[in-house]
Symmetry: C2
Subunit: 358 residues, 2 copies
Amino acid sequence: MANPLTPDVLVDPVELTRTLVDIESVSRDEKVIADCVEDAMRKTPHLSTERQGNTVMARTQLGREQRIVLAGHLDTVPLNDNFPSTVVDDLIYGCGTADMKSGVALALHLAATLPDPRYDITYLFYESEEIDSQFNGLHLAGQDRPDWLRADFAVLLEPTYGVVEAGCQGTMTATVRTHGRRAHTARAWRGVNAIHAAGEVLRRLEDYQPRRVTIDGCNYREGLSAVRISGGVAGNVVPDECEIDVNLRFAPDRSEEQALAHLREVFKGFDLEVTDSAPGALPGLDAPAARDFLLAVGEEPAAKLGWTDVARFAALGIPALNYGPGDPRLAHAQDEHVEIGKIRDGAATLHRWLAADE
Amino acid sequence: MANPLTPDVLVDPVELTRTLVDIESVSRDEKVIADCVEDAMRKTPHLSTERQGNTVMARTQLGREQRIVLAGHLDTVPLNDNFPSTVVDDLIYGCGTADMKSGVALALHLAATLPDPRYDITYLFYESEEIDSQFNGLHLAGQDRPDWLRADFAVLLEPTYGVVEAGCQGTMTATVRTHGRRAHTARAWRGVNAIHAAGEVLRRLEDYQPRRVTIDGCNYREGLSAVRISGGVAGNVVPDECEIDVNLRFAPDRSEEQALAHLREVFKGFDLEVTDSAPGALPGLDAPAARDFLLAVGEEPAAKLGWTDVARFAALGIPALNYGPGDPRLAHAQDEHVEIGKIRDGAATLHRWLAADE
């Protein structure tokens, strides 16, 4: 197959978005798109390009004082009658248009067309972000090629609808267990019903007042939700155990240890076991490259509430934020689409930020 | 195989218990034991005997004014390293000793040895009581051979440890559902958490004050228990539905309609759907044969709280109660056993009741 990522296409971020969308790349099936991206990068003389699995890294080596990363994942969620792309007026419809091939297009467009940026730039196009973390190309690169991630500042081109979303909240899931004593329901008073005892856990969840906190001008709103409950032995048995999984989203001024202490406080008196946890990421907007970026965007940043791969950079001490043309509410939706105007705006903003001073 | 239910065995209810226990008869595998029982009954000249499936009916036809039923099931729960029987001092150990081959032995012993009882007697030895109701031999006989069940009074020889347990409570299971609206847990305030909403259902269960009622001198104690709870979509999704199965055990002065109205009152404002229901049975202790029976036993009756096949007789307007030598707490236990003294007491009591006046 001839590589559809031709110089004519690379020069136009809108055409490039459509072309990327029309290369099917559901998670674990990214070989073709990675081949195309790798080929286009290797043909760009001012970049040195490497590959691991279906993750492609291309970078300038201009000896600038600062290095930034522009990163995006190549995979999409499964197709849903939304392939290939279609265009209606100012909208490109199709799987991955918002999440996040329009963002990848911005990075790829810059990589091909900006030989002399103000900072050294590392472009990361990675595999399998939409599935289990063990397959995530950024996670794997962090393990095997730590120099690929090394930078003073990173921008993930995840959909934010053109707003800077800074940092991200942490997430912690824990199982709260109540205990009782089995008995036949015909003699229920001989037992202790663990499901009834879970009422107190749900009461505390209902009464919970989530904290709001402002960090670097970003407003974070925490949350604590039951995401699963299960209990029961048989239709005629008073149950002796009930489990409630709770998910805490915590602002990045709390560490995981502090988040756990908070959960233990909320559910004092109950068994609690953490099953999953990921730290948040502070917005880090005082880094010089971040300040320049905010100036180029010219709008106030917002807090990122969901967990994203920016936390992988934060864990390495690298300030990182999300900025992309897609609308995050359309991610994974059947009618996923992106506004052509947002793609053009994003490309102009990134050029303004990254082009060398004249 | 020679029938082990010989005249020598039939004359001794203790020996007969052991012999019945040593004929393996897990539910759906009752052919051998039914063959033995049918053969023994057909050899008893004062009885007329019929069979359907693995259910055997044998009855006197003496033209008495009253007819009673003595009934017991031939099947057991699966063996559990407790076959064949063993004897330790006054105890016979083995699968089915309490539930309910010691009770069956009393009926079989009387059938073989009492040619001239005070009432006409129908003996029912039936299959598959321990499994789904559709296989229950008493249920099937009620459908296909209603005359087998016709009587003025019935005694089920289920384990009661020598106490008369009268009537039985009804049981009703319903699913209570709470509803919400899905959202990402990172933006939990955009959703409505159906598991949190279930807190109110559990609160009402915790606060529930079960009714106690005395009928014919029997104390019934009702109960309302959550027996299953489930809800949850994914670890990062505010769930939009939660289900709680509740089981109501209701005294036999309530009809099923009244029990349902009661549940609707308790869970007012919530979706409620009945998934399973069986009516209770009034004790019916004022029937003349029941009064004579209580005199022969010489002890106060107790309320039956669990649901048993007596309700099948009650549904036909036939007063029925449970009375058997086994300890109901040992039913289905690995160390199931029966006291030899309780078997002898039970046989003596039934003889006292049923022997014709001299």
